[in-house]
């Protein structure tokens, strides 16, 4: 048996499905698409598949039609055993009729008021409008024609909160409500009826419907518990009997028994004992076993081999990479350091040759034979400047000159006087410099000869 669902929807030949009611149904079940019609009552005539709803048809007579769709529940009605089910259904039905008469009124009034549309008088109604369709504040449909009393937000909020409380209590006491020994479900429905007397708008009505779905579901479950014939079966009694069978010693501390957290009082072979007896109910084929135990069917998985293959090269690669890198780094750094030292040596020797005449930076750095050598020289010289081993200053004609820093001078000259600049050199400017300074040969000899010597 599937879950029971009860849908009520209104349909009239002129308007089709009442959109608000339809929306209201959607609230109850978002997955509603095309309702499945099992029982249809239209204008007092029934078109239904099952018999028992004939008891209900007499009540309906209107131009509107009320369609009640009961899925699966009517089977319960037919069996006659499900009293609660019937009560639930009747309550639902009454609710449906009351809602319907409201919408009927609305329709008849609607035809008169259509011309007056939104500007209708409020005092004209003898009775508060009970329809759940006059537009919800949240829908922004506008409070057209709503009685003041109907639209009192505080009152509506209160109704909603009462509904929610009721729904919560039903959900929380589910097991309790299912107990065949009480009538709590009916109490809940009666309470819901009381609440519904004050419902004026769709939002509250939707909550009411939600509660009803819940109640109906409980009703179905409760009905399924009622066995019209034969003894009922109570799992907890069954469990007690099983425990006795399994050899539970009840004499030892019976109070703990209810907690169910006992351990030692049930003999360790309890389940074995039950199994031995239960086996007579089974026609299980005895399973086949080798006398000396079965060998492990799976050969050592080939995964291992794959792993080894994968691991070996990766290890080598790992070993190779760092050594290579280290070498490169070392050699590179060494070369740079050597170059820097060599250039410093050059600079110092030129300086000591003639400490009075300034050494032009460009003349020092530029190699007329090679642009790349020039760039390298500039690069290496910059280390001398950074480390404070050489300094650059401008001479009288604002041209940069370079001089080594004497050892004693290093300290005081340090951080305070440091400036940074970026020198850019292009092959074109390089050629210009060569021409302007009339550089014939490089002051810094090419290191190639040096490395070759090494």
């Amino acid at each position: 048996m599937e879950n029971i669902k009860i849908w009520m929807a209104w349909w009239s030949p002129e308007k089709g499905w009442d959109p608000l009611v339809y929306a209201y149904l959607k609230l109850v079940s978002p997955d509603l698409r095309v309702p499945c019609l099992h029982v249809i009552i239209v204008n007092g005539k029934k078109f239904c598949k099952y018999g028992p709803c004939s008891k209900l048809t007499g009540i309906v007579e209107s131009k509107m039609c009320c369609i009640i769709i009961l899925l699966h529940s009517l089977k319960q009605l037919e069996s006659g055993g499900a009293v609660i089910q019937i009560k639930t259904t009747i309550t639902l039905y009454k609710r449906a009729v009351s809602l319907m008469s409201d919408s009927r009124r609305r329709v008849s009034r609607g035809s008169q008021e259509e011309s007056a549309s939104h500007a209708n008088g409020m005092g004209g109604r003898s009775r508060p409008d009970r329809a759940a369709d006059t537009g919800d504040e949240d829908d922004g449909a506008g409070p057209s024609g709503i009685h003041e009393e109907d639209d009192d937000p505080a009152r509506r909020r209160e109704i909603r909160s009462q509904y929610r409380d009721l729904i919560n209590s039903v959900q929380q006491n589910r097991e309790d409500m299912l107990n065949p020994a009480n009538n709590k479900l009916i109490d809940v429905l009666e309470e819901a009826n009381k609440l519904f007397a004050n419902v004026r708008q769709a939002r509250e009505a939707a909550l009411d419907a939600q509660l009803l779905v819940l109640a109906t579901d409980l009703g179905r479950e409760k009905a399924s518990q009622l066995h019209a014939e034969g003894s009922s079966f109570d799992p907890s009694a069954f469990a007690e009997h099983l425990l006795s069978f399994m050899g539970l010693n009840r004499l030892e501390e019976e109070e703990d028994d209810q907690d169910g957290c006992l351990y030692g009082y049930l003999p360790p072979d309890a389940w074995q004992r039950l199994s031995k007896r239960a086996e007579y109910c089974f026609r299980t084929a005895p399973s086949f076993h080798y006398m000396l135990g079965s060998f492990l069917a799976e050969p050592p998985p080939p995964r291992q081999r794959v792993e080894r293959q994968r691991k070996a090269p990766s290890k080598e690669a790992k070993r190779m990479m760092p050594t290579q890198l280290k070498k490169m780094e070392e050699s590179h750094q060494e070369a740079t350091e050597k170059e820097v030292e060599r250039i410093l040596g050059c600079l110092q020797s030129y300086y000591s040759d003639d400490p009075q005449s300034p050494i032009s930076y460009y003349e020092f750095v530029v190699d007329p034979a090679s642009f790349s050598r020039t760039v390298e020289n500039i690069f290496h010289t910059s280390f001398l400047i950074r480390d404070g081993l050489a300094r650059i200053y401008l001479d009288d004609s604002k041209l940069p000159c370079i001089a080594p820093v004497e050892e004693g001078e290093v300290e005081p000259g340090g951080a305070a006087a440091r400036h940074q600049c970026v020198i850019s050199v292009s092959p074109a400017s390089w050629r210009e410099i060569i021409e302007a300074f009339e550089i014939k040969e490089a002051l810094i000899p090419t290191p190639k000869t040096l490395t070759q010597e090494n």
Binding site: F238, H241, L243, Q272, L274, C281
Partner: protein, 261 residues
Amino acid sequence: MSQRKRVAAVGSQTKHFRRSQQVVLDEDDGDMSLTQPTSSQVQKARENFTPVQVDRKVAEVVQFILIKDQKKIPIRRADIAKHVIKEYKALYQDIMKRADRTFEQVFGLKLVEIDSKNHIYILVNKLQPVPGEPISMCPGNPKTGLLFVILSIIFMKGGTVKENVVWNTLKKLRVDVGEKHEDFGDVKKVIIDEFVRQKYLEYVRIPHTDPLEFEFRWGQRAEKEVSKMKVLEFIGELHNQEPQSWTQQYREATSVETSQR
């Protein structure tokens, strides 16, 4: 004559080769579509294999099924065909029929197809247990007791039962689903995984519930293997009540019993 035979043998070999390729292709679909071979194909296959070869295949199938049955997980026809029958595919029906006969006559078992759509088999004991006689020399598997409890609840509750009912009852029997049990280990896993895979139980979601709720039903293996009448008799014994006092269940058990005979 002998030459002609050889030629025929070679021809059939290539044919088998082609067929086994077909098998490989089919496996990719997950299940083998064993199309019914035509009678001429069967005839040809019968000629191609000597009776000794076919006997061997039958024995292999029997052994395969016996070993597969150790874990009580139903055996798929596709697996039998893939691992054992192989190129004897045209003789599948013959071989299975003979294997079934071996099970019945030699082992006292019965090969039952529990799912005729997906072709899944189980082995069932053909021999009725004799009351008072031990069923096997091995100590009882405690899981049978657990399974019995669950199947009983489902049966007595009319065929389906919400999982909570099962968990609550087990709790009363000192089996807490959330905790490791001395005999069963991870009880929940045993119930909703092992028993379900063995097809003793069905564990299905109840539609339209929020939060999700599941219910238990008897699985196909249970229907074939477990006698509802015997379950009811045992329950009656436990309650000290006549099995007939549960009218509905008694009616169902009798109808199953008579339909199986």
